[in-house]
């Protein structure tokens, strides 16, 4: 392992995750949903990579592949220098404790019958790390996420949405992971609570040296928290750049449309903005259009776009874009 590689916590190489579509009594395979189709990126230590896109574009599936909750169809997932893409469950175990996950729904992702203490401490028990200091560690986790340890004996319904998300974060931190997959951690929360959780995630990253994959559909939140942002469309990454650059100089027509679709809370700026309203809807991933997946909705598409798939190419400064028209 050379030194440059060692700083990459995660490296995806041509990751593919296809789900079969089956039909009939014998569950014959009649097609495939290409949820993630040839995705490659790296996340460096202590970095936040944002992953944005609309529902069904494969961002969550990508996250689940890294967590190895799915076994990918093809491609490599290199975590800390080891390829975990085809490991068996017992081999994966030591890697699992190095990763944490925070989920979107603060109601559905916590067991309603367990106390907060059990929820937060469970990963420690599962990974056989329960030692004498267990109780202290759980208390420390509560404090770390800004929850009063006196709430430990409560059950999830006694917490508000924001507090539940804090519990989810405490659970993700329990085994001192390096990487946390944050899957839409703030989208179910009210705006005034969102900011509290975003600040908490930022503080924890600095304090504990965490690496985040931050998955969300809200580009303004993603840009705020991430160092680099990758934009996904129909299972493919169509543009990736550092967050400031992506906002100032979006190159892919889809990124441009996505940015212009987000209303800004300032009427003066709003009046000056040009709006690109996309026509139509996202095609089904079971039957993606040939060539560039975005071409049916693209206003600058040429004939090449209909037949050939554009690959990501570097346009300088680590800004990569998959479009023939750039």
């Amino acid at each position: 392992m050379n030194r440059e590689n060692s700083t990459n916590v995660v490296e995806l190489l041509n990751l593919k995750m296809y789900f079969p579509i089956t039909r009939g009594l014998l569950r014959r395979k009649v097609g495939e949903i290409k949820a993630v189709d040839d995705v490659s990126f790296t996340i460096k230590k202590n970095e936040t990579l944002g992953l944005v896109g609309e529902s069904g574009c494969g961002k969550t599936t990508t996250g689940w592949c890294i967590l190895r909750l799915y076994k990918p169809t093809a491609g490599k997932i290199i975590f800390n220098g080891r390829d975990i893409s085809s490991m068996k469950e017992n081999q994966l175990r030591p890697f699992r404790s190095r990763m944490g996950a925070i989920f979107q729904d603060p109601y559905g992702s916590l067991n309603p019958r367990q106390t907060a203490r059990t929820i937060v401490g469970m990963p420690i028990i599962i990974h056989g790390m329960k030692t004498k200091g267990y109780d202290d560690r759980v208390e420390e986790l509560f404090k770390l996420v800004g929850l009063d340890p006196s709430m430990m004996t409560r059950v999830p319904h006694e917490f508000s949405g924001g507090q539940r998300q804090r519990l989810g974060i405490a659970r993700a931190l329990a085994c001192q992971p390096e990487l946390i997959i944050c899957d839409e951690p703030v989208s179910a929360l009210d705006v005034s609570i969102q900011a509290q959780i975003i600040n908490l995630l930022e503080d924890l990253q600095e304090k504990l040296g965490l690496t985040y994959l931050f998955i969300a559909h809200d580009l303004s939140v993603v840009q705020h928290i991430s160092n680099r942002v990758a934009v996904m469309y129909l299972g493919r990454i169509i543009e990736i750049a550092n967050s400031k650059e992506l906002y100032a100089n979006p190159l892919h027509p889809y990124t441009k449309a996505l940015l212009s679709a987000i209303p800004v809370p300032n009427p003066v700026i709003e009046r000056k903005r040009t709006r690109i309203v996309l026509k139509g809807e996202v095609p089904s991933p079971a039957d993606p259009p040939p060539g560039c997946p975005f071409h049916p909705r693209c206003n600058v598409a040429i004939d090449d776009c209909k037949t050939e798939k554009p690959q990501l190419k570097d346009v300088g400064n680590g800004h990569m874009v998959a479009c023939f028209r750039v």
Partner: protein
């Protein structure tokens, strides 16, 4: 004179745990062809106040305990919910689009039936006439192959398409006011942009006033001319969009604007400033300003006196706060 004016509306819910004053003295008005935004976080009473206008509050536990809803010279609250008067208003003169396009359409009726129903009832159209107009409406809201799609069922459409149909249904009787209650929370951003542009074009075309109820500050900044900000059952600030966004005067509005990330702004440039604490539980609220426990500007007076009423501060700008705060952004 304004088209719709709500005066001191109060809607309470009687629950086992106590009285919930979901809407507690809300006054609100909408002019003809105006686009008004009603913003607030979940549970602040924005939906309940709009449902109260149409008397769609289930009673018990809900009860409209006071206030006036003046529309076309009549106080709608004088009529019972099931009266002919209210039936002739709902869907015909004041129409509403609900949050969930999945649940607000009837899954066992065709789109055509749901579109023609209100036109047959309110406009006394024959089934043929209504069907022809339904095709035209579907075309207007951007559903391709409209004639054939009339016989399809809601599950055969995507979320965005269903919300388009809701817009079509709501506008079918040429209402004076369209209330859109969180019309785009369940859809993606690019679909949200499509739907909001469509809604604005449609109200423009039909000369309808539009009330957008939302938690999204960006949406109101983009579309609304005038804005009402709600917090725990009351309007805390109202004014023209520019007044609210550029010179916010209520601590809650100021807090809201500071806690959302601006597009293109990274964490190195500005740390978000969240509003401390949690929104209050509405059961058995004290009489003071409900924002007091979370307020950075509170003074002794806030603790001693009941909730301040809205006060004119220039232009069309009203604020319910004892402090005279002026924050330019």
């Amino acid at each position: 004179m304004s088209l719709l004016s709500i005066e001191n509306l109060k809607t309470y819910f009687h629950t086992y745990r106590g009285l919930v004053k979901a809407v507690d003295g809300v006054s609100f008005n909408v002019d003809e062809k105006e686009i008004v935004g009603l913003v607030g976080e979940s549970g602040c009473g924005k939906s309940v106040s709009m449902l109260s206008v149409l008397q769609l509050i289930s009673s018990p536990p809900g009860e409209i305990v006071g206030g006036k809803v003046m529309f076309e010279g009549q106080d709608l609250l004088k009529y019972r919910s099931k009266s002919n008067m209210m039936n002739s208003i709902r869907g015909a003169k004041i129409a509403m689009i609900f949050q969930e396009p999945m649940t607000s359409l009837n899954p066992v009726l065709t789109i055509g039936r749901q579109l023609t129903e209100s036109m047959e009832v309110h406009l006394k159209m024959t089934p043929q006439m209504a069907r022809e107009r339904a095709v035209e409406l579907l075309r207007l809201v951007g559903i391709p192959d409209a004639k054939r799609r009339l016989d399809a069922y809601p599950h055969q459409f995507s979320g965005g398409m269903r919300q388009r149909m809701m817009i079509g249904i709501a506008l079918s009787c040429n209402p004076k006011i369209l209330i859109a209650d969180e019309p785009t929370t369940a859809v993606d951003v690019t679909t949200q942009a499509q739907l909001l542009e469509l809604m604005r074009d449609m109200v423009d075309r039909f000369n309808t006033a539009l009330i957008i109820v939302t938690h999204n500050l960006g949406v109101v900044a983009r579309y609304a001319e005038r804005i009402y900000v709600m917090y725990s059952g009351r309007i805390v600030e109202s004014g023209l969009a520019d007044e609210i966004f550029l010179e916010p005067r209520h601590p809650y509005t100021i807090g809201l604007l500071k806690c959302v990330p601006q597009l293109g702004e990274t964490r190195q440039e500005r740390r978000l400033e969240p509003i401390k604490g949690l929104p209050p539980n509405l059961i058995n609220m004290p009489p003071n300003c409900a924002f007091l426990p979370r307020c950075n500007y509170a003074i002794d007076r806030c603790n001693l006196e009941p909730w301040p009423s809205l006060k004119h501060v220039g232009g069309r700008h009203y604020v319910a706060c004892f402090r005279e705060i002026l924050e330019k952004s």
